[in-house]
Symmetry: C2
Subunit: 104 residues, 2 copies
Amino acid sequence: MGLSMVFKALGDDTRREILRLLARGDMTAGEIARAFSLSRPTISHHLNILKEAGLVADEKRGQFVVYSLNTTVFQDVTGWVFEMLSSLTGRDRHKGREELDNGK
Amino acid sequence: MGLSMVFKALGDDTRREILRLLARGDMTAGEIARAFSLSRPTISHHLNILKEAGLVADEKRGQFVVYSLNTTVFQDVTGWVFEMLSSLTGRDRHKGREELDNGK
DNA sequence: CGGACATTTCGAATGATATCAAATTAAGCT
DNA sequence: AGCTTAATTTGATATCATTCGAAATGTCCG
């Protein structure tokens, strides 16, 4: 479960919209599919990608499959961004020719 | 400048590593390319994707091109994640058969 | 001007992704 | 058992991504 998979999963409008729906409450695969003008196999495929990225969990309830948001991976994302931004303290600007010449 | 482009740009190990390098200080395209075992055209391509996503800026300095991190787009990412997580307050769990039957 | 260097653009090969229709599995219902 | 509904898997196709070598662009310097 690398970060690449997570970001790839998030790099699609449909999948981010699915996550937005799931943030409001759990839904079955059919309910999710009905919210889009895409075929059910396509939505199933997107759900699988979100699942493999660890962004959602699925639970079988009778003939339905209920999908829910998994919030822990979101923290990995913000963690990566914060780690990135924390490296920014006291960093160099690249020196230009004049700056190099007079040792500024 | 959509979020999809940003997440797609982040969904690649090489590109995230480039960002990590730039977080420590600005670098020329050649310096960046030397840090990887990939051809210069390939690195140039990755830099272009990062640039189109708004994650880096480039500035021509003589025959060099200096790349730098653009931090504002990172805030868009954390903003999206926080907005997502803020929808989580008081959301429903999907009701199962028993819960539906006895009106729990 | 002409050569050396830095970087990008072009063309092509290979691999990944999105999408749908049709087939498949699984559960509920009469 | 047979039929319907829910969801996924499979197969096909079209589009997009990654990568490289070769060529092109632009800049510096003697």
